[in-house]
């Protein structure tokens, strides 16, 4: 009677989360698409026309991968963190805790839904960008791979934040104070090679550099660091998040007393 994996539970959580997304379509999809469009207009079309090509790519096209990453990271984190924080806040988490579900299934449901939403968002921004900029994707499979990997990794990270946060402020703090600066400084709008040597070295400590570099490589075949290193660093960060979540569930941190 009891199967190995409670697929019904994964599906229930996934659907619940997706329903929440579609209920808040304006906030969760429309608003990031709009803000990214504004970046395209301002930096791509208006300012970009006066900026020279970087690595032989027009500036407007150059910033596309970075802008997608910017939205992807923030939305993955905020969606996944909100998804698990809300039941904790409202008290409905009791039901998940008392259900015959494993931690793996809980994470699959919540993180799967958050990552799905990010993927949808990423694709929507790609399509929107096409309206402003003419670009091509050199390695589409890699591009989708990086998109998927980043969405999952940062949704896992968001899940951790949603468990850690004990107030709405903390939910906002990490995306606002850490992720956004790291993304801006991680080469969304410039190539790391344009920085003075010292700052170039420092930038290598910024994990987002690897994400953007790898993602940009999948578009244009040029990168700040080799694609293997990008992939490795992304996988490493994912592994760290998985270990963190495993620890959370093993100890019941902020979930069970």
């Amino acid at each position: 009677m009891t199967s190995l994996v409670n697929l019904y539970a994964i599906r229930a959580i996934y659907r619940f989360e997706m329903a929440r997304t579609f209920r808040t379509l304006m906030q969760s999809i429309a608003s990031p698409v709009l803000s990214t469009s504004l970046y395209f207009i301002v930096f791509g079309a208006a300012i970009g026309s006066r900026v020279g090509a970087i690595d032989g790519i027009s500036y407007a096209a150059f910033i596309i991968p970075g802008l997608i990453m910017l939205s992807l990271l923030n939305e993955s984190i905020s969606n996944a963190s909100f998804g698990i924080y809300m039941p904790r806040f409202s008290g409905t988490i009791y039901e998940v805790l008392s259900a015959p579900v494993s931690y793996f299934e809980v994470v699959c449901g919540y993180v799967g839904a958050a990552a799905s939403k990010s993927l949808i968002l990423g694709v929507l921004i790609l399509i929107t960008a096409r309206l402003f900029v003419d670009y091509s994707v050199m390695h589409p499979v890699w591009m989708l791979g990086f998109l998927l990997l980043t969405s999952v990794t940062f949704s896992l990270f968001g899940f951790i934040i949603g468990i850690w946060a004990d107030g709405f402020e903390k939910l906002q703090v990490v995306p606002m104070m850490i992720i956004t600066p790291l993304t801006f400084l991680g080469g969304s709008f410039y190539s790391i090679g344009m920085l003075p040597p010292f700052w170039q070295k420092l930038a290598l400590f910024n994990p987002v550099v690897y994400l953007i570099s790898g993602f940009r490589w999948s578009f244009y075949g040029v990168a700040d660091v080799s694609v293997g290193v990008s992939l490795g660093m992304t996988l490493l960060f994912m592994l760290i998040c998985i270990v963190g979540i495993a620890w959370i569930f093993r100890t019941g941190y902020r979930l069970k007393t």
């Binding site: 409670n6 009791y94 015959p100």
Partner: protein, 308 residues
Amino acid sequence: MQSIISVQALTKAYASGHQALKGIDLDIRRGEIFALLGPNGAGKTTLISIICGIVNPSSGVVLADGHDIVRDYRAARSKIGLVPQELSTDSFETVWATVNFSRGLFGKPANPALVEKLLRELSLWDKRDSRIMALSGGMKRRVMIAKALSHEPQILFLDEPTAGVDVELRRDMWEMVHRLRASGVTIILTTHYIEEAEQMADRIGVISQGRIILVEEKARLMAQLGKKQLSLQLQSPLAAIPEEFAQYPLELSADGQTLVYTFDAQGEQTGIAPLLRRLGDHGIDFKSLSSSESSLEDIFVSLVRQPR
């Protein structure tokens, strides 16, 4: 018969150092309605939360239908439904969606007919497409019950089910509990309302300061401790109880005005009628009479007040 829930030497110490449970041993029989009574902070909710998997035990073993709640949590939890004390519901979901969500979460395939039946029984069918936040408190409570029953549990925990609930819903809820029991569901409820335990439960457990201090059949408990007294206000005071009445458990008040007859409330023969006839035969008239019963509440209060 194997007990459906078996709690053995269960303890819980919270990180704050508070020892909420100090070695609980408790067996719940299959198919019974068990009422757990206790003052605030006695450990009722902690005990239920551990059995349901919301709180980690510090030590001890709990078996639900033979399955260890920690090692074999999947099998154990799929048998259990929980209606917690706090009203915690999603706000934006519809009644229909949230009940179906619960069923899926507990690993059961969708069954719209069953969910419809549940919602009809709980008078929620008309509200199935309403968002939960638009419902009254009583309705939300019903939604939580529907969620708890959505996966057809064999064991149902009701933590303070009727706290803050209106009379009508309380009556509905009692009826539902009896219906569930008739269908074979074991029900464990905690309550502050002693009358509720008195009316509903087959057995009663009293928990106080993290210990179970008594578990007893309700009927036995009432019989053991439940005495009725009949007080007769006499027409004219008596100096002493006449010898003819020595066989009766009678007491005379100090002023000789009141005669008190103590009898077993559960007994077949209370002996009141013959007593009154014989009093009349002896010319002992009374102005008025009143009776009082030691309720479960009196028993309960005396139990938890006892120094330990």
